[in-house]
Assembly symmetry: C2
Homo-oligomer: 329 residues x 2
């Protein structure tokens, strides 16, 4: 049941995430001035022109995980949660073409939270921080009412003189390419949900700890990527964001995805495997567009092309934007 | 009842905030490398040496507010919460001697959260962002289990070539000075708690929306401040942090605080007024130390001096570190 727009007690669940953001953005836009701001909310991360007159700059993004929404204690350890929240923030930095330089962590927790869980979380954060050469430079601990456990991370990155790769730069004629796996994290979720953890241990491991190809972000920028996004909410939905921001159509082909599907079919059957590859979230691989004929960086594979038009097609058939909305909107 | 250290199910409430941090820091320290990191967790904010070889850099800090812990809906509107969480983060930036340049906001909320509350929050954030010339450049919305409402903010600042003012630089012989009010926010909390909102409307307003003297941070740095901290947890407790970090004693005098106490005595009586001024949190005024004879920046007033020794004294009497601990430890 949806609320009536404008109704005083309309809730965020009535409205949905996208419509809520559409109302919040205008309030924040321009407040405080945007001098030095290259791109604000709406892309993977914000970019500040740190050196005046230079588009090279600071990249900043923030993303939270909430127990019983973004993880279940029965499925994920504290270290898994720490590794995952760090990785998904760093993927947003990479998707701008930037190199991660620092993390800040806020932990909001009920008084009954075990000390061991907190230390385990720190170990998971430290592990990803170490592998990304990106220290945890600050944080905050807050107590919360019973039942609440939230980990919020801010990631900072440096473009090192590169232009940021936005979602809005794709041009008809570009190729569409992906770096990293597809569908594993979603498949892992389904297997955990079905109590079939042993059916595909790699998928389950990837659900617990995504492994975004962080160094492929700057590599894509160096290779001339025209647009880039990390696949947090699923291939179709995130490709749709590039299509919308760029005013183009993203035409995907199923052939290059056949191996991704086959890899999961044994555990899930063809239909579910296909659904995980096309619409599965939390993978945090990178989708980028490149000018036709550009030498793709190592690790990227072509999965389609950019054409005139709008939306996302698969083998020429228009796809609906399946994927994840935080409030079910 | 306190838990036994090392007991497997020891909770964060058993341990307390400081002891928990003491266990978490070593896990995070060094992970990811600290190249370019001037100061990490433990001061008001972290400082990254953004330009290699230059101590001038980026300042970053993060701080969250939790409903029913850090505010009550009965006392504070969404706009109050937005203004407060922005102000307390910006105070941490100012306390490093830096100029605020950007905010990121994460909102974690139950599905039943009214849209109107979220828009009100955005207005409060935008108001402070505007007054500090510090745009909101990014954010994240997450759904949460019923009962949860958390706002987490990261603030970024620029030192503009200044050296960061740490807590650790105070020297015997320095004067101790404060910019901004003392005790109002705590007095407001007590009056709201007692249902006596009308007894001191300015104190109540300051409890809802602190007004840190943000531009006094860079001014203090320019005037040669040797150490600085924002008063988030109370004068005695935060002065104690400077004393500990600097290896000195902070010797406060009650004379310069007499007007602060008198301002609250009518509403609260002498004893409570004194307690608010000495130990009241959430004021976010700035405490800084300056070399004796330095010309203090406008807005700073001397409240004591730095001597050899340790801890905090008032009129020569050693003070215990009264103030706020998030987990009651």
């Amino acid at each position: 049941v949806r609320g009536v727009p404008g109704e005083p007690r309309q809730t965020v669940a009535d409205l949905g995430e996208d419509d809520l953001l559409a109302q919040v953005f205008p309030i924040l836009a321009g407040a405080g001035g945007t001098t030095g701001l290259v791109t604000g909310p709406g892309d993977d991360a914000a970019v500040l022109a740190w050196a005046a007159g230079d588009v090279a700059g600071l990249v900043a993004t923030t993303d939270a995980m909430v127990r019983d929404r973004d993880w279940l204690d029965a499925w994920s350890s504290g270290a898994d949660v720490g590794a995952k929240v760090a990785a998904q923030n760093l993927a947003d930095v990479a998707a701008m073409g930037a190199r991660p330089v620092a993390l800040l962590v806020t932990l909001v927790m009920e008084a009954a939270t075990p000390v061991g869980w907190v230390l385990d979380l720190a170990h998971g954060l430290a592990e990803v921080a170490r592998s990304a050469t990106c220290p945890v430079i600050g944080g905050d601990l807050s107590s919360a009412p019973d039942g609440t456990l939230v980990v919020s991370v801010t990631a900072l990155g440096s473009l090192d003189g590169r232009r940021p790769v936005l979602r809005s730069g794709a041009e008809p004629g570009d190729v569409v390419a992906v770096a990293g796996t597809l569908g594993l994290a979603a498949a892992g979720w389904r297997l955990l949900h079905a109590g079939r953890e042993d059916a595909h241990t790699e998928a389950v491991a990837r659900q617990r700890r995504p492994r975004p190809p962080l160094d492929r972000g700057p590599a894509a920028a160096d290779a001339g990527a025209t647009a880039m996004v990390d696949l947090s909410d699923g291939l179709l939905r995130d490709a749709g964001r590039v299509a919308r921001a760029s005013g183009v159509r993203v035409a995907l082909r199923s052939d290059p995805l056949a191996d991704d599907v086959a890899r999961l079919s044994g555990a899930l059957g063809d239909e579910q495997a296909r659904d995980c590859v096309l619409a599965g979230g939390e993978e945090h691989s990178l989708l980028a567009t490149f000018p036709a004929g550009a030498a793709l960086p190592h690790g990227f594979r072509i999965v389609g092309e950019v054409t005139g038009g709008a939306g996302v097609t698969l083998d020429g058939v228009t796809q609906s934007a399946r994927g994840w909305d935080h409030f079910g909107g």
